[in-house]
Symmetry: D2
Subunit: 385 residues, 4 copies
């Protein structure tokens, strides 16, 4: 029997964490063959060189696709996507996969969807059916309408994809692979690593013996002009709290330069004595860091998903995660220094709170591989109503 | 008060008929300013040079966008779309419209949608909410999910767009502008034109004093390899019936070369004595031709929409129009010579059947312009459930 | 010892004849490995599907690159070239050749040159140093300035490339591979084929027992608006002479639609009873056809090169071959019906004229392979003066 | 009389200085109309936002073209160029200029040349005929072979362009517009500005009362892997000399990230107490800074041109300017810390050396405008031998 060739396209650092255990499970599945394409900001040093992590994790990369257009504005985002369609069309034409996986809702993921759908290749969408603000909201649901098989991360998401007119037979709740990694981390009490020694970073020396914060703040697409200002709010709040803090640079996006500029400006002018800045960590290390932290701050979806499973207190700023189903670990705050400070202070000390299994039970990668092996692969569909 | 700048992108000959009276109404509206972009196959001689018709109708074209990649395959369709995203991103960046109109569901219309949505320009989708087979089905609903304002053509379509999670306040049934033109034609009994004298065409001399057929058959995207065979079925059926026939070339699409090759082959080898072939007619002339014909044959949506309003018997072949709401004027047939012959024969003589107002009452252009002038233009939204 | 990987990019039907024996010799050379890329109009049915011939000749194609933009104008030529740079950059990035071959001077060949040169891959230019009119003139010499190794087809060309400031150590006169094929054909008197039976074609039945003409006329880039008119001149001349004629469709170019339209118009309206039209023949068959013809008419470089070697009388029309070194087999004519008629009539009967070895002695493919195996491959150079 | 529309494409910060006074002179010429396109890295904050300077200088920008692809490698350079061809083809199609200006030899300038030449628009090349190392060498001479009118900067360059087969009637030595600016600066003794106050920069506080150095070092294209190492040599040399130094970031290029990384690494780890780093200065300010400096160090062409006119001692490192005609103000050094140190020390104190007029007499902008107004504009040419 011929193995099904499953082509996954990873376009950014955070997407990799969302798919890693599924890639592994596909690779190991007797009836599947993995084709891996790494593209976009996942290839760029400015955004943490996810490609290096992927290779270190033992994956063979079939194609690398450079497609990010510089320009610090929405026009560049649009053109990057157009370029992605052209490049990925070539890639799929040459790789001839039996199915293509597009991940979640980053702006460039629709390039994967179009390149596959227009070439009549069955399209699998991971993590559709969620709700957020921003252009991501439009992209995610458009991906759903272009996709043939939907592997969603929660019951809530499953209901929504079915409401969108998809055939329930092709909507499967596999949970989110990022929870698989979280589970491993939660269960592993022997892992030791010194984040500063291993990753360097720049900025203050941190004494984390009495606890610490982790911050990860991305620009919001529809506020990209205020990205600099938005990040300065959080910088000031965290600086004033004077709790040791690991701060991560944002991923590429129109406006990430606003966020980056804000961080660089603040560092050079205020040299905050409690913050150290990092470009990237391997997902595993990052989760160990989270697991032991007092509070995650920012607008990363990690706070909603992994932290819900592990039980890490999270202060979620702004509207980026607005309508993602969230657990009791999350509290929201506006872009306001005092609001952020207050929210963080209230969370400190709640590290023992119960985790919840909203986004999967830690076995999602395998469930995805099984769904890919066992579900009929089709390339045409019709709305159910 | 500043006029709202409304940018419409016309990418193909049939799309122009779907929007023409709306363009006129926008142009004449005191609070709107029309920006017109002509792109894709609408610029190409091989596909009837719609651009010439548009200019003859008195429209000023703001930008022409060449984006069709040759290649006779789905990869070329995908790349054409990617190129369209890149080119149209530039166009909107320079024209700075207050809203962009994308029309219906041709594969390249998603390029308009992405270029607008990613640049935070409110996107208006005309004729969403319908159901067909093919890649169009995916593209149409993806356009809906990228769009902010939906101007649909029937109540059926309106219900479906609302079910897709769009805010009912931004879903307006304006009917289809193609019906406006049909209405004019239906009411005008003084127009005389000799289609062969005016348009030439090639093939048989036709004596149409005892009635005639009109045929328009496009390739189906997911059957593009059988496009040649499919069109040969219809050619044989129509040839054998020996009724005078006006036959129109297909519009550009992966596979249109299959259809075109089939037609060319049949002509050169069988020289059918009852068929004359045409590249294009002005929409107005085409409708006069339809109005007086005994039966429309093929898979054009004209049979479903305009012919329903005018009351023209229609034999609809294959699955291309599969789930479009249809009136009593339509009967379906498979790709089978005998089935097609029988269906046509049964229709002949029913020319007097009553028309229906499923897709508007003939005032759609003005309704669209009013909706564009009076509805709040937004660029961000969230699914309603 | 590692074989040198030599990547050749074939972008059009005529280019293939210019390189075929070299491809074979590279393939068979113990120290070379052939990487073959087929791109542009060589992939398109409208232009004779050269790709099928290439595969039938037993070559394995490493990549196919669709890059031709429709548009019937110089803007499309420019964009096709830009797209070619992007696509071929990917191809070379993945194939990692030790050298890239760009052939002659078609507009899109500079895409190959840029994609290789910018990636520091040694660039080999075949058939530089010649002189013609049109955009080809600019493209050819620009290719020379981007290339590192020059394999030219005549002494005249060699002198010119050296004058252009190239290092004589890297300018080698290998002759033209098209002459190798001509030689085989000239020496093979047992080959029999019936062109009409084998290739079909459309138009008149030809009785060629008393001789025949071959016509091949391309649009001139800087006269692309008059391409239709230009070809009509020749059609009328040849029609009036009433000698049986094999007429070949032009290759893709801005304006080829003008030429194609002219041919189609003339056929449909005048149905010339002495002309039969063909899309393409395998190079070998085409040369046998030439070898026995009374006169080649048009503006193909075949008249200058192969026909000089074989000794076929040639009427060369217009300025397209203006300054190519030519043998005594060639006479020039303007775009004027009477001039063309007179020139053809004067040539008829001179079939026995002596051939000349201006463009090689029939061993060029092997000489090219040897040069590629034995010359130092560099990627950087400096002008010699 | 219609004014000639002259379209200039500025793709990078340094190119702007090379054309600024010509742009002004074109704008003011009674028979010319300026069309200004700003593209590539000239639009990007990372490379100094030249676009802001251009607008502040009072120029109206007709089109902005985002075309820089991220990727830190030669593949990205090639793709940026391909994208540039596509985008600029559109721009010229819409602006319909009577002539297009391409400037010098940066890799992306060939995109301007192709987009113009292929559309039969007369192409004017500024500063052809020079000799350097790198990919620039190939690009410059290819630009010459694509161009119709050559406005060169020195007699040496003029001779070389004529040797390249260009018609001497279309090769005019206008000198270099950058010298015009240098002349103004040299003659203006009243200008006062405090570079640190005006531009900020980061790094050491500088006391420049006893003299200072200026450093500007770009990666060499064919050494892009050693860019980091190369810049570290110079950093160490300058650090050890302990002379106050203004250091400028490199412009965009494959490898500029190597150079940038090197600079960033050195700063963060050695915090050199005599160096301050700047992104960009307005050309005028930069020249004032140069005029008063003791020595320019690096590989910028400013050292060869402007510094020759002004008489600034220059230490030129590596091969980037290898065969540019140079004055007595220049001494060369290899990528070697000690060699660089010695060369700088020997230059210090020679500030009074005589200037030379190799690259023009300070009136070049006007000479260029006059040439553009008075020379016949052609779009086709043939090599002269």
């Amino acid at each position: 029997m011929n193995k099904r060739k499953i082509c996954a396209v990873v376009t950014a650092r955070p997407s990799y964490s969302r798919i890693k255990t599924a890639l592994k499970a596909i690779q190991e599945h007797p009836n599947l063959e993995l084709q891996l394409v790494v593209a976009g900001s996942a290839l760029l040093g400015r955004y943490g060189n996810a490609v290096n992590v992927i290779e270190k994790d033992g994956f063979k990369i079939d194609e690398k696709v450079f497609m990010v257009l510089e320009g610090e504005n929405p026009t560049a985002m649009a053109k990057t996507t157009g370029l992605g369609v052209m490049e990925l069309s070539n890639v799929f034409y040459n790789l001839k996969p039996d199915a293509v996986i597009t991940i979640a809702d980053r702006f460039e993921t629709i390039a994967t969807s179009i390149a596959a759908a227009y070439q009549n290749i069955p399209l699998v969408h991971i993590q559709g059916g969620e709700v957020t603000g921003n252009i991501d909201e439009k992209v995610r649901h458009a991906n759903t309408k272009l996709a043939d098989l939907h592997l969603v991360a929660s019951e809530d998401a499953k209901d929504r994809v079915v409401k969108l007119g998809e055939d329930p037979a092709y909507v499967i709740n596999t949970g989110c692979p990022s929870i698989d990694i979280a589970k491993e981390v939660l269960e592993n009490n022997n892992y030791e690593f010194d984040p500063i020694k291993k990753y360097g970073g720049v900025g203050a020396d941190l004494d984390i013996s009495n606890g610490y914060l982790v911050v990860m703040q991305h620009p919001e697409t529809n506020r990209y002009k205020s990205a600099r200002e938005d990040v300065l709010c959080t910088l000031e709040a965290v600086h004033e709290l004077n709790i040791p803090t690991f701060w991560f640079w944002p991923n590429v996006d129109a406006g990430s330069d606003g966020t980056s500029n804000g961080i660089r400006y603040y560092r050079e002018n205020f040299n905050p004595e409690n913050i150290r800045f990092f470009k990237n960590m391997e997902p595993n290390d990052f989760l160990h860091l989270l697991k032991n932290c007092d509070c995650l701050v920012g607008n990363s979806s990690v706070g909603i998903r992994e932290c819900s499973f592990i039980g890490v207190p999270t202060v979620n700023i702004g509207t980026r995660q607005n309508r993602r189903q969230r657990g009791k670990n999350v509290v929201d705050a506006e872009y306001n220094k005092e609001a952020i400070k207050t929210a963080i202070q209230e969370r400190i000390g709640q590290k023992g709170m119960l985790s919840e299994h909203i986004y999967g039970n830690g076995n999602s990668g395998k469930q995805i591989a099984d769904a890919l092996a066992n579900t009929e692969l089709i390339a045409h569909k019709m709305i159910m109503y």
